[in-house]
């Protein structure tokens, strides 16, 4: 899949969820490139901002969109990677803070 096609699909998907892709498109394209790299590498779109195990069962929680996305958007307006954000985050009406890692330590590749 091309980056532009993925961008279009995920942009529509985000809107259907009441959220958005980060309006910084070059930043988003960089993340999508990471997703496609991980898909080629592992066979699934593992979060590009986290070190994957390379075993789908162990990475299930960080296959994008990760299970931490919604609580991160609820608390910070953005997911850990900054791919998915709230409308308010995009509009700059909420403070943009660094999103800490929510994935439990025992699940991480450390």
């Amino acid at each position: 899949m091309t980056l532009e096609a993925l961008y279009t699909i995920l942009s529509r998907y985000a809107e259907s969820q009441g959220i958005r892709l980060n309006k910084d498109k070059p930043f988003v394209i960089d993340i999508l490139q990471g997703l496609l790299t991980n898909e080629a590498r592992y066979g699934y779109r593992s979060c590009p901002c986290r070190l994957a195990w390379g075993v789908k069962e162990q990475d299930a929680d960080i296959v994008c969109p990760c299970v931490y996305r919604d609580p991160d958007i609820a608390e910070y307006g953005s997911c850990f990677c900054g791919l998915y954000v709230s409308v308010a985050w995009n509009e700059g009406t909420i403070e943009r803070r660094q999103v800490p890692e929510r994935r439990p330590k025992e699940k991480r590749m450390m």
């Binding site: 901002c49 986290r50 890692e101």
Partner: protein, 86 residues
């Protein structure tokens, strides 16, 4: 010229925050050593992850070590402060 600063970046090749961090150093013409941990395997990865764990027990990326200062994530303000940039 002041004393040479030791700068090491622990990054993922796929991570956009890591890319931003690398670009920050490049744009400011500051030499650094960057290691993409996801591209390592076996003993090399274990050795590097040991280093990351000591600096940042969260083992998240990017982990940036500037002399004795550890910065986690791309934070331009913190980087500028650690590098004494205007």
């Amino acid at each position: 010229m002041g004393p040479k600063i030791s700068i090491k970046l622990y990054t993922l090749s796929t991570c956009s925050h890591c890319s931003r961090t690398k670009r920050f150093f490049k744009d400011n013409d500051i030499e650094m050593e960057a290691v993409d941990v996801d591209l390592l395997s076996g003993a090399d990865r274990e050795r590097v992850m040991d280093e990351v764990r000591k600096l940042n027990p969260d083992c998240s990326f990017p982990t940036i070590c500037i002399n004795d200062t550890v910065i986690v994530g791309f934070n331009e303000e913190k980087l500028k402060k650690a590098l004494k940039l205007p």
